[in-house]
Symmetry: C2
Subunit: 311 residues, 2 copies
């Protein structure tokens, strides 16, 4: 099952033609999640050949325009293309009125159900849950109320050893209970442990999206051990003071959070427009956390499947 | 003095990466007017190296999103870049609240004066006037209240013949009155007609922007004789019924209006996304009005200076 992030925009507030404002697409087993939606996101989705209609959940971290100005255009295009599937938007509460006032101005009555789900900014909240995964907020520390988002797969059952099914002629109706941890008793009374009959389960994968925020250690317990962390890195550390004033992070900050959270890999982005060459940001972060990568338009990052060791 | 139009976006409601939504920039003697502002207009301005800060007047025809969704991003970027110069927006009245609700959500207090000027949709209204030009609304016939815009240079004075200044040793303080039509009297009492001393004046140039509208002959008297007409041409005439239903025009409609209005040249645009190849639209229009051109991203169209014949 895929677990893949596509960068659609990576710049901070002022976009350029090569660095659009923040937007990312997360594909977890063909469930598509759009995270932030800066101006022009609908064209970025088109450019990278992502089926817009397949997106059913959009997460907006906060209401600085570079994180949501593209949402009304996305919704309008979905409407014009005849969408009927519901669309869920998880966002600060004011966004609902901003969208509806614009739909009203054009006398647009959407043909698809649009659901807004608002969230608070004090404690992590569960935003959505289905059979495969959960999504939580990550309260951040920015100049506007702002949350990141944590996507976590659920624990999966152990996997049957096919050779054991044949060896003991195990009937299919017993397989779910064995995978769930039940033992199997042969006709002669022999008890076979589920450990012997199965292999280690696929481990839950996770992605944490943290933008925008100043250096904020309070998030560490929640994102600890996350496979993939996106953390904003607007400035180099030489502009630490500017970062503090504007409630943003430096590349060093992002890498320190990654290190202290023991994440698998770190992706940095939300670059200030002052940086034409992004390598200094990358080098600064890598000097602290070597598994750091630059968010660049169209780049993909995935988390490979991992399994519990057979035991 | 320049009189030049740059196409920033030419498509109808659903944008593509090669055909952005409607936006045009008119440069009249280094006064820059932005006409409509679809999503991504700020990046189009950047792409075509137009100084955003030089724009002081923005005209929004109506509140379908493909004509204004880029405005909030443009305003935000101007603010972040430290703009102090005032910005005037001429638009349907609801736009003011749409912009301010978004500025409030991000707690943005603009550093520059932002003035909204609303207009009605029944009769042509004067929107702005300065020493060089006037701008009027052109009420159109669309599914939402909508106006086009007519930009007209003012009549300029006749131009002095330099050789006459030397011949009669005319002192500079008399020149404005001669150019304005006053005669000049020599010391010996001889009266020199201003016609003899001057050459024909530069004729006022004009541009009419008409999008979105169905075929609407009521605009003809107002745009009659305009040097350059932009008229939407969303469909081919074979989709005339669809054009009527959606209050849009066909290429044939646009060309017929151009012909009946006796304009200098016609630019068509606002193409339906169903047309990959735009030549059929061009050919249909040219079969009626030969001086037709396609609006394409980055294309420039100008109106050359013309003079009253010397008389």
């Amino acid at each position: 099952m895929s677990f893949e992030l596509t960068i659609l925009g990576c710049n901070s507030a002022i976009p350029t033609n090569h660095r659009k404002p923040t937007a990312q697409l997360l594909n977890i087993g063909e469930q598509f999640f759009l995270i932030d939606c800066g101006e022009g996101t609908q064209l970025q989705l088109r450019k990278y050949k992502i089926k817009m209609q397949s997106i059913q959940h959009i997460f907006i971290s906060h209401l600085h325009g570079d994180h949501y100005f593209g949402l009304i255009g996305f919704i309008s295009t979905m409407h014009l293309l005849g969408r009927v599937k519901e669309l869920n938007i998880y966002a600060p509460s004011e966004l609902k009125e901003i969208i509806y006032i614009q739909l009203a101005a054009s006398k647009t009555e959407l043909r698809f159900p649009l659901f807004f789900h608002e969230f608070g900014f004090d404690e992590p909240e569960l935003l959505m849950e289905n059979n495969e995964l959960i999504v939580q907020t990550i309260p951040l520390n920015h100049s506007l109320p702002c949350c990141g988002f944590l996507f976590k797969e659920k624990l999966k059952p152990r996997r049957m050893r096919k050779e054991k099914i044949q060896e003991f002629n195990i009937s299919p109706e017993f397989i779910p209970s064995i995978k769930a941890g039940g033992d199997y008793i042969l006709n002669d009374g022999t008890v076979l442990s589920h450990i012997e009959l199965t292999r280690g389960a696929q481990l839950p994968r996770s992605f944490a999206f943290c933008s925008d925020t100043k250096y904020y250690e309070k998030i560490i317990p929640q994102i600890s051990g996350t496979d993939m962390l996106y953390h904003e890195a607007t400035f180099l550390d030489e502009l630490k003071e500017r970062a503090n004033q504007t409630f943003h992070s430096t590349a060093k900050d992002a890498a320190t959070i990654a290190l202290k959270s023991n994440v698998g890999k770190l992706i940095i982005g939300h670059y200030s427009q002052r940086y034409y060459d992004l390598n200094p940001l990358l080098f600064e972060a890598r000097s602290i956390f070597s598994e750091t990568y630059l968010a660049l338009e169209g780049e993909k990052f995935d988390v490979k499947r991992k399994y519990d060791p057979d035991s």
